[in-house]
């Protein structure tokens, strides 16, 4: 065991994610879901206890007592047209409806998931045959196929159950197949194969545990439907046959009395509604609790400008184009707000390139996005500091003023141009839009301006490429479009957030050269965010090294790189292999690790 490893483990422990609340806790924290759960619990308990409750026989007719109103003596909910006690019938009907709905859902989930797992894992011909079959079933309007099946098998509760189950199989099969295809291509499945696992073992022990939550989610969101649909078939007289009754058939029988005794049909209808509603509430809760994306609160809608709630707004005498003073950006979480950027300051002057370098979690991208309030909020909040552009405090401006600044004075270039360009608009239109956002010029003038920009970023054949969609271009071309978009309104400052990280080295070299040229030609100030010391060495005049939301060291690039002052910078630079260093590099790392260990 080498000494190097202990330092490393100690270091990375800090960014290990905190413990998450369990799914059950999440479910119970959700008021609506908890309400749904308790209503369902009561209903299920009543269904189980029904035989021992002091209720009359639901099937005993008594014409003398027919159509007794609600709250009559001995019949709390009255009686129906044959004098049967509605409360008793409601309880037995509820039980039938629940059992049938849940059974149908279990059957559909089992066969659907099985088909989905097999098709998604096997792919190829098996997948094709199975999914074409499923497509055929899906090609029927939902309830129509169930009707056709009942038509052939004959009316009856059991037949209705089969019909509803069959109709819902495709839903599960499609969902589960989609997830399985994704999982089967994941590295851990390949790794399991190399660990000697066979196909069946992989499906059952590697894939199924990951699919199970999805099956549960799908079930919890479909049980409600299935209860509705079985009730529907019974309502039409195609499900439960007299004297057996479920809620649907009670409603169907009561329908003929709608005008004289509406309560006979309203009571079972309301009951169906309560059951399905509480199942849906519970189902939504289950989905939210099991879906990790929702857990992270990812679905909150981000606002136009990051929420600003500053403790202090310090002023600076610095007259540079961009001056950042004590910037603090935090993220709201369940356990209060935690700062991601902890009071950093730097400035950037015209024609200058400042590199902001750091490892993941250092807060460098959050810093970049904070400058014009582009941090998604919620959960982001600017909790302190000032960003001054031409001496004006950005966070003191009104929302429209900040928006007006974006792309005009300060423009952004982002990391992966495939996800940062809109997939459904042509690249030409997207750049034209950027031009017209700030310049009141005609569409044709804007188009001409866009073509000029495309030439400036060396996109070959711009007239033709302007009509291409992002997915039709290579990564390097897309990033050129991203740069053209940033240049659209002759900004003074460009903030480039890891603009070459998603690109191949040779393409990266071209893009860096382009940025460098443009900067010199146009006198741009460039804030360059990266994790790569090589890139910093190549294009930045000055560099600021970030760690855990703070700038640990800043200065002239060459000085910082050749003579780092802070321990962290020293260690970081020592960890970058240099060309020509060869195997010497690992020996150095070993020594460094030993030193850190001893000192």
């Amino acid at each position: 065991m080498s000494a190097a490893d202990t330092t490393m483990s100690a270091e990375v422990d800090a960014d290990a994610p905190p413990a998450r609340p369990t799914a059950w806790q999440l479910l119970m924290n959700n008021t609506l879901a908890a309400a749904g759960f308790w209503i369902m619990a009561v209903i299920v308990a009543l269904c189980i206890l029904e035989p021992i409750l002091p209720l009359p026989d639901p099937d005993v007719t008594s014409l003398a007592e027919r159509l007794a109103p609600v709250f009559s003596e001995g019949h709390l909910l009255g009686t129906d047209h044959l004098g049967r006690d509605i409360l008793a019938r409601l309880f037995s009907g509820m039980r039938v409806s629940l059992v049938v709905g849940v059974t149908a859902s279990v059957i559909a989930a089992f066969f659907g998931s099985l088909i989905g797992l097999i098709a998604g894992y096997a792919r190829g011909r098996v997948d094709n045959i199975l999914m074409r079959g499923i497509d055929m079933l899906m090609a029927f309007p939902y309830i129509l196929l169930a009707l056709a099946i009942v038509a052939a098998l004959g009316p009856g509760l059991l037949n209705a159950l089969y019909a509803i189950a069959v109709v819902n199989i495709p839903f599960f099969a499609r969902n589960i197949r989609g997830i399985t295809v994704g999982l089967a291509g994941r590295e851990f499945v390949d790794a399991a194969r190399l660990s000697g696992k066979g196909h069946i073992s992989i499906v059952l022990t590697e894939i199924l545990p990951n699919v199970l939550p999805v099956i549960v989610i799908t079930m919890s969101t479909t049980v409600g439907w299935m209860i509705l649909e079985t009730a529907g078939l019974s309502f039409l007289g195609l499900g439960a046959q007299p004297p057996q009754a479920d809620l649907g058939s009670m409603l169907g029988e009561g329908r003929s009395l709608l005008f004289t005794a509406p309560m006979v049909s309203i009571i079972p209808g309301v009951m169906v509604f309560i059951i399905v509603m509480s199942i849906n509430l519970l189902g939504d809760g289950v989905r939210d609790a099991l879906d990790p994306r929702l857990r992270a609160g990812a679905l909150a809608r981000p606002m136009a400008v990051t929420k600003i709630d500053r403790k202090a707004a310090p002023k600076s005498d610095d007259k540079s184009a961009l001056v950042v003073t004590d910037l603090e950006t935090s993220f709201e979480g369940t356990k209060g707000t935690t700062p991601a950027v902890k009071g950093i300051s730097f400035s950037l002057d015209k024609g200058e390139c400042l590199g902001l370098i750091g490892e993941s979690g250092s807060g460098k991208s959050v810093t970049a996005l904070s400058l014009l309030g582009l941090v998604a909020s919620p959960p982001g909040i600017i909790t302190g500091g000032t960003v001054a552009i031409d001496g004006q405090d950005v966070f003191g401006m009104r929302e429209q003023e900040i928006v007006a600044l974006r792309g005009r004075k300060v423009a952004y270039v982002f990391q992966d141009p495939l996800t940062t360009l809109h997939p459904l608009f042509t690249v030409g239109d997207q750049v034209v839009e950027a031009v017209q956002a700030h310049q009141k010029i005609s569409k044709s003038d804007a188009w001409a301006k866009m073509l000029d920009l495309f030439r400036a970023v060396r996109i070959p054949d711009p007239e033709q490429r302007a009509n291409a969609y992002p997915h039709e271009m290579s990564g390097g071309q897309r990033q050129r479009v991203g740069i053209a978009m940033a240049l659209a309104n002759d900004p003074e400052i460009i903030i480039a957030d890891e603009p070459t990280t998603a690109l191949d080295v040779t393409v990266q070299a071209e893009i860096l050269a382009l940025l460098q040229n443009l900067r010199k030609e146009r006198g741009l100030a460039l804030l360059f965010i990266t994790h790569d010391f090589g890139v910093v060495a190549e294009i930045c005049d000055r560099v600021a090294v970030m760690r855990f939301g703070e700038v640990v060291e800043a200065g002239d690039t060459m000085k910082v790189l050749s003579n780092p002052q802070h321990d962290y910078t020293k260690r970081l630079i020592a960890c970058v292999p240099k060309p020509g260093q060869g195997r010497q590099f690992l020996d150095d790392v070993r020594k460094l690790a030993a030193e850190t260990q001893n000192g």
Binding site: K197, A509, S562
Partner: protein
Amino acid sequence: MADRQAAIEITNLTKIFGGNRTLFGGKTHEIHAVKNLTMTLHHGETLAIVGESGSGKSTIARMIVGLETPTSGSMKIAGQDSSELAREGAAAFGRKIQYVFQDPVASLNPRKTIGKILEAPLRLLKGYDSAKCKARMKELMDAVSMPADALQRYPHEFSGGQAQRIAIARALAAEPDIMVLDEPVSALDVSVQAQVLLLLEDLKAEFDLSYLFISHDLAVVESISDRVAVFYFGELVEEGSAAELFASPNHEYTKKLIASAPRLEIE
């Protein structure tokens, strides 16, 4: 004429994706991912495969460990023909050669504890009983400098660097002769990257391994490899010892690649 020193011998290996017949008798678009490759990984050496996206480097790696079937050509893995291994099944490959993936988090099943993950190769490939499994797991955790209590924890509780150590431990569990390292440090921060490289270097000596090291990062490659093979659109364009190749590249593409790499040179 088998080279006794060869860990992997690849002869005329080709992989074509697509080209399936369609319903109307046409053919789908063909992609020649690997073109007629002949290459040898010697016992005990680290051979780096370098190339950009679309160079076919990952396809080569996946074929070598049996996750992808070659269109034509042959491979000998630790002296045994790969088609024989393929007939015996994935386990046969797994005993001789293991794979470390680029994304360490994706390579660990999120719903299994580290202990469960390590148990699979120990039981299925080595046939150890549970006492032996337990003992080996502790040794493996020790070898990759992870605490033994990590065995009871789930993958999401670890950082990228730790997850990659666990993935390396899983590969070691099979006691393979050869490891294919597919961009093993690309997803990691520089400080963590250096530590993992060092770990790999130490493990190689300790367990007498041969490495096929796939990377797009020339500086990393230079620091760990004995020989380097440069790929461009599925073709091997240049091969040579690391020192020579970086000092005086011959092929145009290699020159361009080396010139493009951002360099941190401090005097």
